[in-house]
């Protein structure tokens, strides 16, 4: 044993190690803290942005969920509106007169034009429809609640600030006085904006609603689901359970992975050239939109389905094969049902992505200005995201808040769909 010399040398160098570590430790721990600090900073930035995003949408959007209305006693003057003349008639003048009744200070002749602009352009059509339906109202006085036009709506909601100089304000002092008079008369109300969900698009922000977009998105998603779901599952089952390991199945796999990463606008080009250009399908139709979205959603569904099939343990397959079931029977009667929750979760997530997809729908013309909701998937329509795009492009202040409101509605749907997916996953998740 010759451990005297090495041991002494060793003690010295051990001490040197200890000293060195001690010396460097504070600096090294500081370095680690800095790294952690950067990490926390990055997360804080991400959270802050999300917060600003949601906060700015809510701040600009919540006003669109209510709409300023005025309740008027309207005398249906037979001199203006006659039964024979329907559906034409002086509906607008009748309404203007009704407003003037509540504005004792205004001159019926000179101020008629200004007063008329207080009401939404849609008010006259509302009155017209009511009278066309029941002509016996002519000559009577009816009580009617109609929306105000956008500037006055904004004035009421605070979108137009009273302290801005008159020449920069969209509502002049005279108009402000009229509004205040109506308000004092207690006939201004701000109820929940049902029109946001029951009206289609309009040039007038106070009338514009999401019905067309909602119906359009519904048809598009339905088409997307009906096509992508069966084809996606079929492809996934084939690739996962039946496909021989050969060039073709490898090629299909590479294809699917790449399709999942192709930019969405390229799918729009495909749809425009092939579906509309070559097959002659109608432009702006939710059906074509759904078809396009289906091609984009399919890879997501295939990947999710394959993962779900893979998660079913081999013991189930072996058990079924062991009692003499054919490969098809094993897959369709045992494996597929067990994988279904996972498949549905993936499908819902895929559909949620499809619901928010905008670019391909723009290219096939689903950004058209259409004032009625589609009645079939082949009618021209918009979808929720394209409606957001249209409104975001419109200069009127009322459209800004409506854009935010539409986004909140869209996000609401997305949260709901993802919520369902998470619920399904938690409820049916099995640990094998």
């Amino acid at each position: 044993m010759t451990d005297i010399t090495p041991n002494d040398a060793r003690k010295a160098s051990n001490n040197a190690t200890t000293e060195a570590v001690k010396r460097s430790l504070a600096r090294r721990n500081r370095k680690q803290l800095v790294l952690q600090g950067f990490g926390i900073g990055a997360i804080v930035i991400a959270f802050t942005v999300l917060f600003i995003l949601v906060a700015s949408l809510v701040r600009t959007g919540y006003t669109a969920f209510v709409q300023t209305h005025v309740t008027l006693d309207v005398y249906i003057d037979p001199a203006e509106i006659s039964e024979e003349g329907l559906p034409r008639g002086g509906f607008r003048d009748v309404l203007t007169a009704a407003v003037l009744d509540n504005l004792p200070g205004a001159d019926p002749e000179e101020d008629a034009r200004g007063v008329r602009n207080i009401l939404s352009n849609g008010a006259q059509f509302q009155l017209r429809d009511q009278i066309v339906e029941d002509p016996s109202l002519i000559g009577q006085t009816i009580t009617l609640t109609v929306p105000l036009s956008d500037p006055f709506d904004q004035l009421n909601k605070g979108g137009v600030r009273r302290d801005t100089p008159e020449d920069q304000r969209r509502v002049d002092n005279q108009e402000m006085a009229w509004f205040d008079a109506l308000d004092e008369a207690g006939i201004i109300s701000t109820p929940f904006n049902i029109g946001l969900f029951t009206n289609a698009d309009s040039r007038f922000p106070e009338l514009a609603g999401l019905k067309g977009a909602l119906v359009g998105s519904f048809w598009a998603l339905l088409t997307c689901f009906l096509i992508a779901f069966p084809i996606g599952i079929g492809a996934a089952i084939y690739l996962e359970e039946f496909a021989p390991k050969n060039r073709l199945s490898d090629f299909i796999e590479v294809n699917i992975n790449n399709l999942a990463a192709v930019p969405s606008v390229v799918f729009g080009l495909l749809a425009l050239a092939v579906f509309i250009g070559w097959f002659g399908l109608p432009r702006s139709a939710p059906f074509v939109g759904g078809l396009t979205l289906a091609l984009m959603t399919m890879p997501t569904i295939i990947i999710a389905t394959r993962a779900a099939l893979k998660a079913v343990p081999p013991s189930i397959r072996e058990a079924a094969l062991g009692v003499g079931a054919s490969k098809h029977q094993v897959v369709f009667q045992h494996v597929l049902p067990l994988a279904m929750p996972g498949i549905l979760t993936g499908t819902i997530i895929g559909l949620a992505q499809a619901l928010g997809e905008t670019a391909p729908l723009l290219l096939i013309g689903m950004n058209a200005f259409i004032t009625s909701a589609p009645t079939s998937p082949f009618d021209a329509a918009t979808a929720l995201p394209t409606q957001i795009f249209i409104w975001a492009d419109s200069p009127e202040r009322g459209f800004t808040s409506r854009t935010s409101a539409a986004i909140l509605v869209l996000l609401g749907f997305l949260v709901m769909m993802n919520g369902i997916a998470i619920y399904l996953r938690n409820k049916f998740e099995r640990r094998w």
Partner: protein
Amino acid sequence: MNDMRLTERNMTDHKIKMQARGVDVFYGHDQAIKNVDVDIEDNTVTAFIGPSGCGKSTFLRCLNRMNDTIDVCRVTGDIRLDDEDIYDPQVDPVQLRAKVGMVFQKPNPFPKSIYDNVAYGPKIHGLATNKAELDEIVEKSLRRAAIWDEAKDRLDQPGTGLSGGQQQRLCIARAVATNPEVLLMDEPCSALDPIATAQVEELIDELRERFSVVIVTHSMQQAARVSQKTAFFHLGELVEYGETSQIFTNPQDTRTESYITGRIG
């Protein structure tokens, strides 16, 4: 087995390097180690043996606080290195691990060059002030790990390109490069072939000159070949601890005897 060497070994008394008293380890609510007392001597190879799942590796990882990295793991009791409580809040695990090195079951060289693998420890701890010193440390460590001759011409090649046995010796070189006082080895040969195993075992015996070595092994022959002291663990308890020759020839506990003779395990 080489009985000649067994008897030759237990001659000198060594000072106690590490001392464990009443150590319990819990994983969540499960107790993995129950009330273990053990003394690790300097310049000695101490082997921990026992059936798999007996807690020998868990206990080994307590000695350099590697269990800290597992969230649910809780260690109580008293473990001292040179009479200093290593679980004292004042002690930084970083400092402790520089003194108590570790080699793992599977060779785990970093995906860097051989040189950088060995130089990593000295670099982070600031043990070398210049490149020449660092070169010297690397060479010395590789020599100590008996891999210098194989590695000296390929220091800039990735450590992952070496064979399994070479990788494990590289990991040993990496561990000794920081000049530790204790070297923990967690089944260091279980992933190696017999020839590589023999080389590593020979190396362990040499390392004893400078370090206190603790080795976990599932192979009793290996324990008998390389160690002077042996601790037998069973179901989280330290059943018996003593001179290797005595444990293998004259075990006091019936459980140890059953294990040695192959009735449990």
